[in-house]
Symmetry: C2
Subunit: 205 residues, 2 copies
DNA sequence: GCGCTTTTGTGAAATCTTAAACATAATATA
DNA sequence: TATATTATGTTTAAGATTTCACAAAAGCGC
């Protein structure tokens, strides 16, 4: 359905292009060349053109790319044309910050369920949602047909939560817990651990 | 001082090794082979051995790696043997979550300054710190000799904040704002944008 | 219309990265 | 002590990714 065989590393850059194009469209700009876009992103123009060429021909020679058109094409390719429901597990400080984060809307995602295993929190409100018992992840997430989840629980609980999400049919997991989790083939995991990112820079200090 | 010419991509994996080894050390384990470690991390044993070989010989044939020893060596290589001070800019929900995050201690970092530009917030306490005026980033961060900063402000403010941090002498920036920023040669930036990570997975759904 | 400039899409070349394979060394077994 | 097993560090090969370079197309000015 998508394309035949696009390298993962190419796919991983598309969201960066989309983010920049959305920003440029907001600014009211119409057209941008691979050279200009590359300059903004710190990526070579050739790489941008090559990446996009995996999916079709979106530019016009001598002119560049129509910003709105390319943005829409990237949204289609990345399948974020409609807002997708996301289940959030973990109602701690990080969970709350994610809940209140205004940046999901308009970029393809909407948190629509929140779970926690703390009896003190279950039943309470967080934002517009009632915090649900983590025990019910399997049934509720499956019922709603939710495919995407964010895990914001301590490391000790993460694998267990991920297992429940996988059983519920979740196919994409954004894991904030500082641990590598095991998932079956076909389930995707992305990791966010600020310490890992910081340590990637201290080497160069 | 570090090594002659280690590829960035190799350096980027070292923190993952360190994280796993610290966890194993906590568990009381003594020794691990590249095969076992690779299995835990989803990385090939050959790659782990190759990566480590850039920095020296840390293992013993027939046995594997001494966990504590290799952990200590990685801490040394990544220069996180002592806790480093980090300046946090942005005292919103995310900033608060980072402030309260217990995961920095013991992994080489300690937030020790918090800035915001909101007059309502300046002077208030957040955790153990008084929120300082963003206007004073340049002087205070420079005075303290802080080299690392976390940017947790809206996209519109990010470049301006980054510029101030760079002028203050910061060399490593973890940017949570959903925008690519410009920095001079020699300043390192890592990005965390949950939407980017989510969009890297929706392609495969 | 005609040259001049710009910029795309792409095949080929260059570079970088990963995986495979193996000699060597350490340990365990008997 | 000899033999079998395990696992490293490194060399070599394979594979993946990026860069280069250029033909073709589109717009602009005159």
């Amino acid at each position: 359905m998508p394309a035949k065989d696009v390298p993962d590393i190419v796919v991983s850059r598309l969201p960066l292009y989309l983010r920049a194009l959305s920003f440029l469209a907001e600014e009211g700009l119409q057209v941008i060349s691979s050279k200009e876009l590359g300059h903004k992103l710190g990526i070579s123009p050739a790489q941008i053109r090559k990446d996009l060429s995996h999916f079709g021909e979106f530019g016009k020679q001598g002119t560049g790319y129509n910003i709105q058109y390319l943005r829409d094409q990237l949204r289609r390719i990345l399948k974020v044309t409609e807002e997708r429901e996301v289940a959030l597990v973990g109602a701690g400080d990080l969970g709350r910050a994610l809940m209140h984060y205004g940046g999901f809307a308009g970029r393809g995602f909407r948190i629509s369920l929140v779970f926690d295993n703390n009896p003190q929190k279950i039943g309470q409100k967080m934002g517009p949602f009632e915090i649900l018992d983590s025990e019910s992840i399997e049934t509720i997430v499956a019922d709603r047909g939710i495919e995407i989840a964010i895990v914001a629980v301590p490391a000790e609980a993460a694998q267990e939560v991920v297992d429940a999400l996988v059983r519920a049919g979740v196919k994409a997991i954004l894991n904030y817990a500082p641990i590598t989790v095991k998932v079956p083939e076909g389930v995707h995991v992305q990791y966010i651990d600020p310490v890992i990112h910081l340590q990637r820079m201290t080497y160069y200090l």
